[in-house]
């Protein structure tokens, strides 16, 4: 396989607060290749968004700080890159779209002006050429009568249209990596379907790598090539999308899937991962999933675990993953017995 476009190597981003050191990202490694979609799955506090912001070096500092590891983009380490270098990369080579387009778009500029801004900043073009590019981009993302909509202010557009404008802006400089942080979470399902299809089509046209951050396993199954499942600041499972669903090797991944209600399936009660999502300021010691894990064994799981390759290209951070892979251990939480 060719060299990855972007590779995270043991990335650590901590936040130093008065009370504690929050290890929001604690040794994350993953990579994406050109034309590939990597889905980063996790719940609140798993560190999936902080990882993405670290890639663009957008972590507020202080209190945040990249404490260790490397972010290799086309061979350069972004952790040590200068601020000027980062400004050239952001938006031009690595772009990001966010969950809520209304908070990322400037309400006092028209959509067209905001895209022009991005283009002029990174490329040697005059404003007229940049405006032509902006309208082209708005057409590309499927905004009807793009020339007129370029003069619309964000509040005049619907949520789905705003997200399209965000995508147009992010792609205006033809980035090689797009980070999409929950791009459809704030949208209705029928609009989500439009946006996901659009992203897929644009990815094929431009050939960029996409890091899709989401909590929705349905979206993962339909769009991703590879999956990194994050829990409590660490990647706990890393594999191709088929294996992630057909044969999860980490009890957290298995539990997430088992707890989803599925259309057309009747079950009395849903299987449940017990307990609560851990607070980033107080991650459990040892395996961070052990307090909620149905196959936890003491004392082995009270020791920190490493992400290791179990078979083929399938890695998991679990001491029992070999037994799970061999089929001798069921990692999913048991069917619940209800106490009347």
């Amino acid at each position: 396989m060719s060299d990855p476009l972007l590779r995270l190597d043991d990335l650590k981003t901590y936040f130093h607060t008065d009370e504690a050191v929050v290890r929001a990202v604690d040794g994350v490694s993953y990579e994406v290749h050109a034309g590939e979609t990597l889905a980063v799955v996790g719940e609140s506090g798993s560190g999936k968004s902080v990882t993405a912001l670290s890639i663009l070096r957008l972590i507020p500092q202080p209190p945040g700080r990249i404490e260790g590891g490397r972010i290799l983009f086309k061979g350069r380490d972004l952790v040590t890159a200068s601020e000027a270098e980062m400004r050239r990369i952001r938006g031009a080579e690595i772009s990001m779209i966010f969950q809520e387009p209304m908070t990322s778009l400037n309400p006092v500029f028209t959509c067209g002006e905001q895209i022009v801004e991005a283009v002029v900043l990174h490329e040697r073009v005059d404003r007229r050429a940049a405006r032509r590019r902006a309208i082209e981009m708005l057409e590309l993302v499927g905004i009807p009568s793009a020339a007129q909509r370029a003069d619309a202010y964000p509040h005049q557009l619907s949520g789905g249209m705003r997200q399209r404008v965000m995508i147009a802006m992010a792609l205006a400089c033809r980035p090689s990596v797009l980070i999409a942080d929950e791009p459809t979470t704030a949208l209705d399902v029928t609009i989500q379907a439009q946006i996901l299809e659009l992203l897929k089509r644009l990815q094929q046209e431009i050939g960029m790598a996409v890091i899709l951050i989401t909590h929705d396993l349905g979206v993962v199954a339909e769009t991703a090539d590879r999956v990194a499942v994050m829990y409590a600041g660490q990647v706990v499972e890393y594999c191709d999308v088929r294996s992630a669903f057909a044969r999860p090797l980490h009890p957290y991944t298995a539990g997430l899937q088992a707890s989803l209600p599925r259309l057309g399936e009747t079950r009395e009660s849903l299987r449940v991962i017990p307990g609560n999502v851990p607070n980033p300021a107080h991650f459990p010691d040892g395996c961070r999933f052990h307090p909620r894990c149905p196959v936890m064994i003491a004392p082995a799981c009270l020791e920190p675990q490493t992400l290791r390759i179990i078979d083929d290209d399938h890695a998991a951070r679990c001491i029992r993953a070999d037994a799970i892979a061999a089929g001798t251990l069921d990692p999913a939480p048991p069917e619940q017995e209800r106490v009347p």
């Binding site: 029928t190 079950r267 009660s269």
Partner: protein, 355 residues
């Protein structure tokens, strides 16, 4: 609940309308109305769970709140256990409020941050005159916390000390404090993490069985709604477009909007690629809904009649209502269909005015 033999509607909603005036100018002249709920009728039996689904702006939340009169309906009738609620003076409404409670989407913003959980629950009891002495109230609070899977010791804690899932448990306990018969659950799990959603769904279902509660379960997530509901109402632009037992709705939807909505939900299984009906455009504005059938500008089977005649909600199969002139063909005419909701082979792309 199929084991109930005699079904009596606990809630009977007839032609409910809730319009919000749009005001403009110096004298706040009314220039139009946002017709959030525009002619909705349905019944909910005692002990039944009715799911209400739809996209943002379809009026599902307004419907739920109008039933409880947390928002004043513009016209129509809401009967609770035979008694008319619309137009009932506040004084007479108060005793009925005890029997109808609501669980909100965001439990954090619905809890007073300066009030301990025990105090908040005690207040609910006091307001409705159910606090009978300090010890009895204390016992009741502990009982409620245990009922929703929390520990009695949590009574002394404050909302910020709890996680999202625990807060929603508190929201449920607060609703249950007055022993209601009806609970309107407004997106009760959509703000929660995936691993926590299942916990709350199971809790709500358990409580419904155990306490013989009636739910109106409002949510945008069809798979959650299908899981918990006996029947499901699908709303679009202030109207119910389809109402059916949840299995039937999923297996054989009889409205093109439901067909499209079901096909848009991503399935968590990479081996089950299915075609998707991508609806063109956005939901039109509820202040100026399209003439004829409100769905016709985005519909894949719209005919001339759909642009002029508003289809009534009619029974197209036993217990299965649809507001479509061509309800019987909704599945058969879906692009790329092969007759089963999950088995579409090709991707269908639908017209409408926008790509």
């Amino acid at each position: 609940m199929t084991d109930v033999i005699v079904r009596t509607p606990l809630v009977e909603v007839t032609d409910l309308r809730t319009w919000f005036p749009i005001r403009k100018g110096l004298f706040s002249r009314v220039v139009g109305h946002v017709k959030a709920v525009d002619g909705v009728s349905f019944t909910v039996d005692a002990g039944e769970v009715l799911g209400v689904v739809g996209e943002s702006g379809c009026g599902k939340t307004t419907t739920g709140r109008s039933i409880l009169r947390l928002i004043e309906p513009t016209s129509g009738s809401v009967k609770f256990d035979g008694q008319e609620l619309v137009g009932l003076p506040r004084r007479d409404l108060q005793p009925l409020r005890r029997q109808m409670q609501i669980v909100f989407q965001d439990p954090y913003s619905s809890l007073n941050p300066r009030m301990s959980i025990g105090t908040a629950l005690t207040e609910a009891l006091t307001v409705h005159g159910l606090a009978r002495g300090r010890q009895a109230t204390h016992d009741r609070v502990e009982e409620l916390l245990t009922l929703v899977g929390l520990s009695p010791s949590h009574a002394a804690r404050y909302p910020h000390e709890f996680s999202g899932g625990q807060r929603q448990r508190i929201g449920v306990a607060r609703a249950l404090a007055v022993s209601p018969r009806l609970i309107v659950a407004d997106e009760p799990v959509s703000a929660l993490d995936v691993s926590i959603q299942a916990q709350i769904v199971n809790l709500l279902r358990d409580l419904q069985r155990r306490l013989h509660l009636t739910y109106i379960f409002v949510a945008h997530d069809l798979s959650v709604v299908e899981h918990i509901s006996d029947r499901v109402a699908v709303m679009y632009l202030g109207r119910i477009v389809e109402l059916a037992p949840s299995r039937a709705l999923y297996r054989s939807p009889m409205h093109p909007y439901t067909v499209a909505l079901l096909s848009a939900i991503p399935i968590p299984d990479p081996d089950r690629r299915r075609s998707r009906i991508v609806l063109g455009g956005d939901v039109p504005s509820p202040s100026n809904p399209p003439a004829g059938c409100r769905f016709h500008p985005r519909c894949y089977m719209a005919q001339a009649i759909c642009r002029t005649d508003d289809p009534p909600l009619r029974e197209v199969a036993p217990g299965h209502l649809s507001a479509c002139h061509f309800a019987e063909q909704a599945m058969a005419m879906a692009p790329g269909k092969d007759g089963e909701a999950t088995g579409w082979e090709e991707t269908g792309r639908l017209g409408g005015t926008e790509p």
